[in-house]
């Protein structure tokens, strides 16, 4: 695991703690996307991004209706949980 993956792992674990303690402000769709993202990202190199298609097909997100899923993605981007590659406005994402 690279430093970035370790950071993402730590962040995801701490986020689950926040969630359990009721301190998080995320919707259930956003939480599902975030959990799916941390699992998918662990398998990638530090410079790679997860595509929205891969995220949507993950078991945790597969049941989300499309509008809810994309609203969740936009919400996570706005709250700065996720980042896009430079010069892109959508399509592929990483945990910040």
């Amino acid at each position: 695991m690279s430093q970035l993956e370790q950071y993402a792992t730590l962040k995801s674990m701490l986020h689950s703690m926040e969630r359990d303690l009721g301190l998080t402000e995320l919707s259930s769709a956003e939480k599902a996307i975030l959990s799916a993202m941390s699992t998918l990202q662990t398998a990638l190199a530090s410079s790679e991004y997860v595509s929205s298609r891969n995220l949507k097909s993950h078991a945790l997100c597969a049941d989300l209706p499309n509008p809810t899923f994309f609203r969740g993605l936009a919400g996570l981007l706005e709250k700065q949980y996720l980042v896009l590659p430079e010069g892109r406005s959508k399509g592929v994402y990483r945990l910040k």
């Binding site: 430093q3 730590l10 674990m13």
Partner: protein
Amino acid sequence: MHPQLPDGLVRIILICSVYLLLFLAVRQIIYPLQQMIAPDAAQYAALIFLPHGVRVIATWLYREKAIVPLLLAHFILYRLFYWQGGDVALNIVAVLSGSLCVFITMQLFSFSRIDISLSNMTISHWRSLVFLGFISSVFNTAGNMLAMGDTMGSELHLEVIATFIIGDTLGTLVCLFILMLGFRLRRLAKAD
């Protein structure tokens, strides 16, 4: 362009500095406070031992790569504050048990097919880390008791064992909580 330090060196500096810092926080703040508030409760160790949280988180994240920095930091502190004249081997046992207790527990988990990595989505990871902190504390306590054996009366054994285990487990929990608040504050500050 800034020259980048190798990952291994960054890891050693990070783990050692956080471990040393939290140990000093326990020694200078938590233990004196504990003595003021409840002088009779636990006279032999801190009831919140934050460095154990560093052992747990570092070993969970870095696995065997956390051993050298933990060993280094724990050896420095043990040499400075706890080293007892006499049997060097017993002191080494105490240092090794403190540094390796979490790694040994993780190996036992792995042997028993207990998966506490992030890829296991069926568990609560932070709760698993507190559990890891608790179990590993048993190994840590066993090593320390072996090292302190002759210098302590047998009537104190139970109290010291209980204090060690409570201190390590609460230390892990508080350490996770501090880290969570730190990440949360950082995120909120960035969002403003």
